[in-house]
Amino acid sequence: MIHTSSNTSMMRKPVDSRIPLALVALGVCCLLAGSYWGLARAPSEIFMGDVQRIMYVHVPTAWNAMLTLVFAFTCALLFLFTNDWKWDNRLEGAIEVGVVLSLLLCIQGSIWAKPTWGVWWDWDPRLTTTAVMVCAFGGILALRAFVEDPMKRAVWSAVCCIVASADVPIVYFSVKWWNSLHQAQSSPETVSKAFHWPLRINAFGILFLWTGFVMLRSRIAALRLRSELAPPIPASAGTEAAGAAPAGAAL
Protein backbone atom coordinates (compact mmCIF):
# COMPACT_ATOMS: atom_id res chain seq x y z
CA MET A 1 0.00 0.00 0.00
CA ILE A 2 1.32 3.45 -0.89
CA HIS A 3 0.42 6.28 1.47
CA THR A 4 -0.20 9.85 0.39
CA SER A 5 3.24 10.88 1.57
CA SER A 6 4.75 8.41 -0.91
CA ASN A 7 3.08 10.06 -3.85
CA THR A 8 3.92 13.60 -2.75
CA SER A 9 7.51 12.54 -2.17
CA MET A 10 7.65 10.97 -5.62
CA MET A 11 6.40 14.16 -7.21
CA ARG A 12 8.91 16.29 -5.30
CA LYS A 13 11.68 17.82 -7.36
CA PRO A 14 14.91 15.81 -6.99
CA VAL A 15 17.71 17.43 -4.99
CA ASP A 16 19.82 20.00 -6.81
CA SER A 17 23.07 18.24 -7.76
CA ARG A 18 25.19 21.33 -6.90
CA ILE A 19 25.00 20.69 -3.12
CA PRO A 20 26.25 17.06 -3.29
CA LEU A 21 28.96 18.03 -5.80
CA ALA A 22 30.12 20.79 -3.43
CA LEU A 23 30.23 18.24 -0.59
CA VAL A 24 32.28 15.84 -2.74
CA ALA A 25 34.72 18.68 -3.61
CA LEU A 26 34.99 19.65 0.09
CA GLY A 27 35.59 15.98 0.99
CA VAL A 28 38.38 15.67 -1.59
CA CYS A 29 40.04 18.87 -0.28
CA CYS A 30 39.87 17.57 3.34
CA LEU A 31 41.28 14.19 2.27
CA LEU A 32 44.16 15.85 0.40
CA ALA A 33 44.96 18.09 3.38
CA GLY A 34 44.63 15.28 5.95
CA SER A 35 46.67 12.84 3.88
CA TYR A 36 49.43 15.45 3.35
CA TRP A 37 49.51 16.09 7.10
CA GLY A 38 49.53 12.36 7.88
CA LEU A 39 52.13 11.40 5.27
CA ALA A 40 54.50 14.39 5.38
CA ARG A 41 54.13 16.25 8.67
CA ALA A 42 53.00 13.81 11.38
CA PRO A 43 55.79 11.85 13.11
CA SER A 44 56.30 8.11 12.53
CA GLU A 45 54.87 5.69 15.05
CA ILE A 46 57.58 4.33 17.38
CA PHE A 47 56.98 0.57 16.81
CA MET A 48 55.44 0.26 13.34
CA GLY A 49 57.24 3.14 11.64
CA ASP A 50 55.77 4.47 8.39
CA VAL A 51 53.42 1.47 8.02
CA GLN A 52 51.22 3.06 10.68
CA ARG A 53 50.46 6.01 8.36
CA ILE A 54 47.75 3.93 6.65
CA MET A 55 45.80 4.51 9.89
CA TYR A 56 44.96 8.00 8.61
CA VAL A 57 42.66 6.50 5.98
CA HIS A 58 41.89 3.09 7.53
CA VAL A 59 40.41 4.37 10.80
CA PRO A 60 38.31 7.17 9.19
CA THR A 61 37.09 4.65 6.59
CA ALA A 62 36.04 2.27 9.39
CA TRP A 63 34.17 5.02 11.27
CA ASN A 64 32.42 6.20 8.11
CA ALA A 65 31.59 2.70 6.84
CA MET A 66 29.81 2.05 10.14
CA LEU A 67 28.12 5.44 9.98
CA THR A 68 26.89 4.85 6.40
CA LEU A 69 25.42 1.47 7.28
CA VAL A 70 23.79 2.89 10.42
CA PHE A 71 22.31 5.59 8.15
CA ALA A 72 21.07 2.85 5.77
CA PHE A 73 19.46 1.08 8.75
CA THR A 74 17.77 4.36 9.78
CA CYS A 75 16.50 4.88 6.20
CA ALA A 76 15.12 1.31 6.18
CA LEU A 77 13.28 1.86 9.47
CA LEU A 78 11.93 5.24 8.36
CA PHE A 79 10.73 3.80 5.04
CA LEU A 80 8.86 0.99 6.80
CA PHE A 81 7.25 3.46 9.21
CA THR A 82 6.43 6.31 6.78
CA ASN A 83 6.28 4.63 3.32
CA ASP A 84 7.97 7.77 1.97
CA TRP A 85 9.94 7.01 -1.19
CA LYS A 86 12.72 9.46 -0.32
CA TRP A 87 13.91 7.03 2.38
CA ASP A 88 14.06 4.19 -0.14
CA ASN A 89 16.15 6.36 -2.49
CA ARG A 90 18.51 7.25 0.35
CA LEU A 91 18.64 3.60 1.42
CA GLU A 92 19.83 2.60 -2.05
CA GLY A 93 22.57 5.24 -1.99
CA ALA A 94 23.62 4.46 1.58
CA ILE A 95 23.91 0.70 0.99
CA GLU A 96 25.96 1.18 -2.18
CA VAL A 97 28.34 3.64 -0.54
CA GLY A 98 28.48 1.55 2.65
CA VAL A 99 29.46 -1.59 0.71
CA VAL A 100 32.19 0.30 -1.16
CA LEU A 101 33.57 1.79 2.08
CA SER A 102 33.50 -1.63 3.81
CA LEU A 103 35.33 -3.19 0.86
CA LEU A 104 37.93 -0.41 1.02
CA LEU A 105 38.20 -1.05 4.76
CA CYS A 106 39.00 -4.73 4.15
CA ILE A 107 41.58 -3.86 1.47
CA GLN A 108 43.30 -1.21 3.63
CA GLY A 109 43.24 -3.60 6.59
CA SER A 110 44.93 -6.32 4.51
CA ILE A 111 47.63 -3.87 3.38
CA TRP A 112 48.26 -2.95 7.02
CA ALA A 113 48.03 -6.56 8.26
CA LYS A 114 50.75 -7.98 6.00
CA PRO A 115 53.72 -6.03 7.45
CA THR A 116 52.37 -5.94 11.03
CA TRP A 117 50.74 -9.37 11.55
CA GLY A 118 52.63 -11.17 8.74
CA VAL A 119 49.45 -12.24 6.91
CA TRP A 120 47.04 -10.56 4.50
CA TRP A 121 44.02 -11.93 6.30
CA ASP A 122 43.26 -13.49 9.65
CA TRP A 123 40.04 -15.22 10.68
CA ASP A 124 39.72 -12.89 13.60
CA PRO A 125 36.05 -12.23 14.56
CA ARG A 126 36.27 -8.54 13.67
CA LEU A 127 37.68 -9.12 10.20
CA THR A 128 35.30 -12.00 9.62
CA THR A 129 32.24 -10.06 10.66
CA THR A 130 33.32 -7.11 8.47
CA ALA A 131 33.58 -9.46 5.49
CA VAL A 132 30.16 -10.90 6.38
CA MET A 133 28.76 -7.36 6.50
CA VAL A 134 30.07 -6.66 2.98
CA CYS A 135 28.49 -9.86 1.63
CA ALA A 136 25.17 -9.35 3.45
CA PHE A 137 24.73 -5.76 2.23
CA GLY A 138 26.05 -6.71 -1.22
CA GLY A 139 23.24 -9.30 -1.36
CA ILE A 140 20.68 -6.53 -0.78
CA LEU A 141 22.05 -4.67 -3.81
CA ALA A 142 21.56 -7.88 -5.83
CA LEU A 143 18.01 -8.19 -4.50
CA ARG A 144 17.27 -4.65 -5.65
CA ALA A 145 18.57 -5.52 -9.09
CA PHE A 146 16.36 -8.63 -9.28
CA VAL A 147 12.99 -7.20 -8.16
CA GLU A 148 11.16 -5.04 -10.68
CA ASP A 149 8.12 -3.97 -8.63
CA PRO A 150 9.28 -0.71 -6.92
CA MET A 151 7.12 -1.20 -3.81
CA LYS A 152 8.23 -4.80 -3.22
CA ARG A 153 11.82 -3.80 -3.94
CA ALA A 154 11.64 -1.00 -1.39
CA VAL A 155 9.96 -3.03 1.37
CA TRP A 156 12.10 -6.13 0.89
CA SER A 157 15.37 -4.25 0.77
CA ALA A 158 14.36 -2.32 3.91
CA VAL A 159 13.55 -5.62 5.66
CA CYS A 160 16.83 -7.20 4.51
CA CYS A 161 18.76 -4.10 5.59
CA ILE A 162 17.30 -4.28 9.11
CA VAL A 163 18.11 -8.01 9.33
CA ALA A 164 21.66 -7.50 8.01
CA SER A 165 22.16 -4.55 10.37
CA ALA A 166 21.87 -6.98 13.26
CA ASP A 167 25.42 -7.89 12.22
CA VAL A 168 26.81 -4.36 12.64
CA PRO A 169 26.85 -4.29 16.48
CA ILE A 170 28.45 -7.76 16.45
CA VAL A 171 31.22 -6.32 14.25
CA TYR A 172 31.71 -3.33 16.51
CA PHE A 173 31.76 -5.15 19.82
CA SER A 174 33.56 -8.30 18.68
CA VAL A 175 36.97 -6.92 19.72
CA LYS A 176 35.78 -6.43 23.27
CA TRP A 177 33.92 -9.75 23.41
CA TRP A 178 36.67 -11.97 22.08
CA ASN A 179 39.80 -9.92 22.93
CA SER A 180 41.50 -11.33 19.87
CA LEU A 181 44.34 -10.42 17.47
CA HIS A 182 42.79 -7.15 16.23
CA GLN A 183 43.56 -4.29 18.61
CA ALA A 184 40.77 -2.74 20.67
CA GLN A 185 39.11 0.48 19.54
CA SER A 186 41.38 3.50 20.03
CA SER A 187 40.31 6.65 21.85
CA PRO A 188 41.88 10.13 22.02
CA GLU A 189 43.52 9.04 25.30
CA THR A 190 45.28 6.03 23.70
CA VAL A 191 46.44 7.84 20.51
CA SER A 192 49.25 10.44 20.55
CA LYS A 193 48.08 14.05 20.08
CA ALA A 194 50.38 14.34 17.06
CA PHE A 195 48.12 11.86 15.21
CA HIS A 196 44.78 13.50 16.10
CA TRP A 197 44.44 16.19 13.42
CA PRO A 198 45.18 14.15 10.26
CA LEU A 199 42.75 11.51 11.55
CA ARG A 200 40.03 14.07 12.23
CA ILE A 201 40.48 15.93 8.93
CA ASN A 202 40.36 12.68 6.94
CA ALA A 203 37.35 11.47 8.92
CA PHE A 204 35.47 14.65 8.00
CA GLY A 205 36.74 14.37 4.42
CA ILE A 206 35.28 10.88 4.02
CA LEU A 207 32.10 12.01 5.80
CA PHE A 208 31.58 14.86 3.30
CA LEU A 209 32.48 12.55 0.42
CA TRP A 210 29.99 9.82 1.29
CA THR A 211 27.26 12.32 2.13
CA GLY A 212 27.71 13.83 -1.34
CA PHE A 213 27.75 10.41 -3.00
CA VAL A 214 24.61 9.26 -1.15
CA MET A 215 22.80 12.46 -2.16
CA LEU A 216 23.84 12.01 -5.81
CA ARG A 217 22.89 8.32 -5.79
CA SER A 218 19.52 8.94 -4.18
CA ARG A 219 18.87 11.66 -6.78
CA ILE A 220 19.46 9.07 -9.54
CA ALA A 221 17.22 6.59 -7.70
CA ALA A 222 14.48 9.24 -7.42
CA LEU A 223 14.64 9.96 -11.16
CA ARG A 224 14.51 6.22 -11.98
CA LEU A 225 11.55 5.74 -9.63
CA ARG A 226 9.73 8.63 -11.30
CA SER A 227 10.11 6.93 -14.69
CA GLU A 228 9.09 3.54 -13.24
CA LEU A 229 5.93 4.88 -11.61
CA ALA A 230 5.00 7.24 -14.47
CA PRO A 231 1.74 6.34 -16.23
CA PRO A 232 2.30 4.57 -19.59
CA ILE A 233 2.19 6.70 -22.73
CA PRO A 234 -1.23 6.27 -24.46
CA ALA A 235 -1.09 4.02 -27.54
CA SER A 236 -2.31 6.81 -29.86
CA ALA A 237 0.42 9.18 -28.62
CA GLY A 238 2.98 6.45 -29.18
CA THR A 239 1.76 5.88 -32.76
CA GLU A 240 1.82 9.61 -33.49
CA ALA A 241 5.29 9.86 -32.08
CA ALA A 242 6.43 6.91 -34.20
CA GLY A 243 4.82 8.46 -37.26
CA ALA A 244 6.48 11.78 -36.63
CA ALA A 245 9.91 10.25 -36.09
CA PRO A 246 12.45 10.71 -38.87
CA ALA A 247 13.15 7.66 -41.05
CA GLY A 248 16.62 7.26 -39.54
CA ALA A 249 15.18 6.84 -36.01
CA ALA A 250 13.74 3.43 -36.93
CA LEU A 251 17.24 2.14 -37.51
Binding site: M1, L80, T128, T129, V132, C135, A136, G138, G139, I140, A142, L143, F146, V147, M151, K152, V155, W156, A158, V159, C160, I162, V163, A164, A166, D167, I170, W177, W178
Partner: protein, 221 residues
Protein backbone atom coordinates in the same frame (compact mmCIF):
# COMPACT_ATOMS: atom_id res chain seq x y z
CA UNK B 1 -1.25 -18.85 21.19
CA UNK B 2 -3.86 -21.13 19.61
CA UNK B 3 -3.10 -19.46 16.25
CA UNK B 4 0.56 -20.36 16.63
CA UNK B 5 -0.22 -23.95 17.59
CA UNK B 6 -2.55 -24.28 14.60
CA UNK B 7 0.13 -22.77 12.29
CA UNK B 8 2.86 -25.10 13.60
CA UNK B 9 0.49 -28.07 13.30
CA UNK B 10 -0.38 -27.12 9.72
CA UNK B 11 3.28 -26.80 8.69
CA UNK B 12 4.37 -29.99 10.47
CA UNK B 13 1.49 -31.81 8.78
CA UNK B 14 2.67 -30.41 5.42
CA UNK B 15 6.20 -31.68 6.14
CA UNK B 16 4.81 -35.07 7.19
CA UNK B 17 2.65 -35.44 4.08
CA UNK B 18 5.61 -34.45 1.91
CA UNK B 19 8.03 -36.68 3.85
CA UNK B 20 9.47 -38.12 0.67
CA UNK B 21 10.90 -34.63 0.14
CA UNK B 22 12.59 -34.78 3.56
CA UNK B 23 14.11 -38.15 2.66
CA UNK B 24 15.38 -36.70 -0.62
CA UNK B 25 16.93 -33.72 1.25
CA UNK B 26 18.64 -36.13 3.66
CA UNK B 27 20.01 -38.06 0.68
CA UNK B 28 21.25 -34.75 -0.76
CA UNK B 29 22.99 -33.86 2.54
CA UNK B 30 24.59 -37.31 2.79
CA UNK B 31 25.78 -37.10 -0.84
CA UNK B 32 27.27 -33.68 -0.10
CA UNK B 33 29.18 -35.14 2.88
CA UNK B 34 30.50 -37.90 0.63
CA UNK B 35 31.55 -35.43 -2.08
CA UNK B 36 33.24 -32.99 0.33
CA UNK B 37 35.66 -35.73 1.35
CA UNK B 38 37.07 -35.73 -2.19
CA UNK B 39 38.56 -32.29 -1.45
CA UNK B 40 40.79 -33.84 1.23
CA UNK B 41 41.52 -37.30 -0.13
CA UNK B 42 42.01 -40.43 1.97
CA UNK B 43 43.88 -38.64 4.79
CA UNK B 44 41.88 -39.89 7.78
CA UNK B 45 43.37 -37.34 10.23
CA UNK B 46 42.52 -34.38 7.97
CA UNK B 47 39.03 -35.77 7.31
CA UNK B 48 38.41 -35.98 11.06
CA UNK B 49 39.73 -32.45 11.53
CA UNK B 50 37.40 -30.94 8.89
CA UNK B 51 34.38 -33.18 9.62
CA UNK B 52 32.45 -30.48 11.54
CA UNK B 53 32.86 -28.01 8.67
CA UNK B 54 31.61 -30.54 6.15
CA UNK B 55 28.62 -31.44 8.35
CA UNK B 56 27.49 -27.81 8.63
CA UNK B 57 28.15 -27.06 4.96
CA UNK B 58 26.03 -30.07 4.01
CA UNK B 59 23.32 -28.90 6.39
CA UNK B 60 23.49 -25.34 5.04
CA UNK B 61 23.13 -26.47 1.42
CA UNK B 62 20.30 -28.85 2.32
CA UNK B 63 18.57 -26.10 4.32
CA UNK B 64 18.12 -23.90 1.22
CA UNK B 65 16.15 -26.74 -0.39
CA UNK B 66 13.98 -27.19 2.72
CA UNK B 67 13.34 -23.49 3.16
CA UNK B 68 12.57 -22.82 -0.49
CA UNK B 69 10.24 -25.84 -0.61
CA UNK B 70 8.31 -24.69 2.47
CA UNK B 71 7.11 -21.57 0.61
CA UNK B 72 6.86 -23.12 -2.87
CA UNK B 73 3.86 -25.08 -1.61
CA UNK B 74 2.20 -21.89 -0.36
CA UNK B 75 2.58 -20.24 -3.76
CA UNK B 76 0.65 -23.04 -5.53
CA UNK B 77 -3.02 -22.17 -6.16
CA UNK B 78 -2.38 -18.87 -4.29
CA UNK B 79 -2.54 -20.70 -0.95
CA UNK B 80 -0.57 -17.91 0.73
CA UNK B 81 -3.29 -15.37 -0.07
CA UNK B 82 -5.84 -17.76 1.39
CA UNK B 83 -3.74 -18.05 4.55
CA UNK B 84 -3.56 -14.27 4.88
CA UNK B 85 -7.35 -14.06 4.69
CA UNK B 86 -7.65 -16.29 7.75
CA UNK B 87 -8.17 -14.58 11.12
CA UNK B 88 -4.54 -15.27 12.06
CA UNK B 89 -1.72 -12.76 12.40
CA UNK B 90 1.21 -12.94 9.94
CA UNK B 91 3.47 -13.27 13.01
CA UNK B 92 1.78 -16.57 13.94
CA UNK B 93 2.11 -17.77 10.35
CA UNK B 94 5.82 -16.87 10.41
CA UNK B 95 6.56 -18.57 13.72
CA UNK B 96 4.52 -21.60 12.67
CA UNK B 97 6.56 -22.02 9.51
CA UNK B 98 9.90 -21.13 11.14
CA UNK B 99 9.32 -23.63 13.99
CA UNK B 100 8.34 -26.40 11.56
CA UNK B 101 11.42 -25.66 9.42
CA UNK B 102 13.58 -25.62 12.56
CA UNK B 103 12.23 -29.04 13.59
CA UNK B 104 12.92 -30.47 10.14
CA UNK B 105 16.44 -28.99 9.96
CA UNK B 106 17.34 -30.17 13.48
CA UNK B 107 16.14 -33.65 12.55
CA UNK B 108 18.20 -33.49 9.36
CA UNK B 109 21.26 -32.41 11.39
CA UNK B 110 20.81 -35.28 13.81
CA UNK B 111 20.37 -37.73 10.91
CA UNK B 112 23.57 -36.48 9.22
CA UNK B 113 25.72 -37.00 12.36
CA UNK B 114 25.96 -40.82 11.93
CA UNK B 115 26.88 -40.26 8.25
CA UNK B 116 29.69 -37.94 9.40
CA UNK B 117 30.86 -40.48 12.00
CA UNK B 118 30.97 -43.27 9.43
CA UNK B 119 32.59 -41.29 6.61
CA UNK B 120 35.09 -39.22 8.63
CA UNK B 121 35.55 -41.29 11.80
CA UNK B 122 34.60 -38.14 13.70
CA UNK B 123 32.57 -39.26 16.68
CA UNK B 124 32.04 -37.75 20.12
CA UNK B 125 30.64 -39.07 23.36
CA UNK B 126 29.34 -35.59 24.31
CA UNK B 127 26.01 -36.21 22.62
CA UNK B 128 23.89 -33.78 24.63
CA UNK B 129 26.11 -30.72 23.91
CA UNK B 130 26.27 -31.83 20.25
CA UNK B 131 22.46 -31.95 20.15
CA UNK B 132 22.40 -28.51 21.77
CA UNK B 133 24.72 -27.06 19.11
CA UNK B 134 22.64 -28.65 16.32
CA UNK B 135 19.45 -27.21 17.82
CA UNK B 136 21.00 -23.72 18.23
CA UNK B 137 22.64 -23.78 14.80
CA UNK B 138 19.53 -24.92 12.94
CA UNK B 139 17.46 -22.28 14.78
CA UNK B 140 19.87 -19.70 13.33
CA UNK B 141 19.30 -21.12 9.85
CA UNK B 142 15.54 -21.43 10.14
CA UNK B 143 14.56 -17.92 11.34
CA UNK B 144 16.23 -15.75 8.67
CA UNK B 145 15.80 -18.50 6.06
CA UNK B 146 12.02 -18.56 6.51
CA UNK B 147 11.84 -14.75 6.24
CA UNK B 148 13.96 -14.68 3.08
CA UNK B 149 12.16 -17.68 1.55
CA UNK B 150 8.88 -15.75 1.93
CA UNK B 151 10.37 -12.94 -0.18
CA UNK B 152 12.21 -14.96 -2.79
CA UNK B 153 9.28 -17.36 -3.37
CA UNK B 154 7.43 -14.38 -4.86
CA UNK B 155 10.17 -13.63 -7.42
CA UNK B 156 11.09 -15.28 -10.69
CA UNK B 157 14.74 -15.94 -9.86
CA UNK B 158 14.08 -17.54 -6.47
CA UNK B 159 16.74 -20.27 -6.85
CA UNK B 160 19.47 -17.63 -7.15
CA UNK B 161 18.15 -15.04 -4.73
CA UNK B 162 17.60 -17.20 -1.66
CA UNK B 163 21.22 -18.44 -1.30
CA UNK B 164 22.52 -15.00 -2.31
CA UNK B 165 20.73 -13.33 0.60
CA UNK B 166 20.78 -16.23 3.02
CA UNK B 167 24.40 -17.45 2.91
CA UNK B 168 26.19 -14.22 3.92
CA UNK B 169 23.71 -13.61 6.70
CA UNK B 170 24.20 -17.02 8.32
CA UNK B 171 28.00 -16.99 8.17
CA UNK B 172 28.17 -16.23 11.93
CA UNK B 173 25.97 -19.32 12.52
CA UNK B 174 28.19 -21.41 10.27
CA UNK B 175 31.41 -20.24 11.94
CA UNK B 176 30.13 -20.68 15.47
CA UNK B 177 28.46 -24.04 14.80
CA UNK B 178 31.52 -25.43 12.99
CA UNK B 179 33.86 -24.27 15.76
CA UNK B 180 31.62 -25.63 18.52
CA UNK B 181 31.14 -29.00 16.78
CA UNK B 182 34.90 -29.23 16.11
CA UNK B 183 35.59 -28.60 19.80
CA UNK B 184 33.21 -31.44 20.68
CA UNK B 185 34.84 -33.84 18.20
CA UNK B 186 38.51 -32.90 18.64
CA UNK B 187 38.47 -31.87 22.31
CA UNK B 188 38.11 -28.57 24.15
CA UNK B 189 41.11 -28.13 26.49
CA UNK B 190 40.67 -24.32 26.69
CA UNK B 191 36.91 -24.42 27.44
CA UNK B 192 35.95 -22.42 24.31
CA UNK B 193 32.62 -24.15 23.69
CA UNK B 194 30.50 -21.80 25.81
CA UNK B 195 31.43 -18.50 24.02
CA UNK B 196 30.64 -20.02 20.61
CA UNK B 197 27.34 -21.41 21.92
CA UNK B 198 26.59 -17.95 23.33
CA UNK B 199 27.23 -16.38 19.92
CA UNK B 200 24.77 -18.84 18.37
CA UNK B 201 22.20 -18.06 21.06
CA UNK B 202 22.62 -14.30 20.57
CA UNK B 203 22.25 -14.57 16.79
CA UNK B 204 19.15 -16.77 17.22
CA UNK B 205 17.55 -14.35 19.68
CA UNK B 206 18.06 -11.39 17.31
CA UNK B 207 16.91 -13.19 14.16
CA UNK B 208 13.82 -14.83 15.71
CA UNK B 209 12.69 -11.47 17.12
CA UNK B 210 13.30 -9.59 13.86
CA UNK B 211 11.60 -12.26 11.75
CA UNK B 212 8.38 -12.04 13.76
CA UNK B 213 8.39 -8.25 13.61
CA UNK B 214 9.10 -7.90 9.88
CA UNK B 215 7.22 -10.84 8.34
CA UNK B 216 3.93 -8.92 8.06
CA UNK B 217 5.54 -6.26 5.84
CA UNK B 218 7.14 -8.87 3.56
CA UNK B 219 3.74 -10.33 2.69
CA UNK B 220 2.06 -6.97 2.02
CA UNK B 221 1.23 -6.13 -1.58
Amino acid sequence: MSELVAAVRKDLLLHWRGRIQAVAIFAFGASALLLFSFAIGPDSLALRQYAAGFLWLGLLLASTLTLAESFEREMEEQALEGLLLLPASPTSLYYGKALANWALLALLGVALVPVMVVLYDAGTMRLLPLLGIIVLGTAGLSAPGTLYAAMTAQTRSRQTLLPLLFFPLVVPVLLAAVKATSLLILGDPMGQLRPWAMLLFLFDAIQWSLGGLLFGRVLED
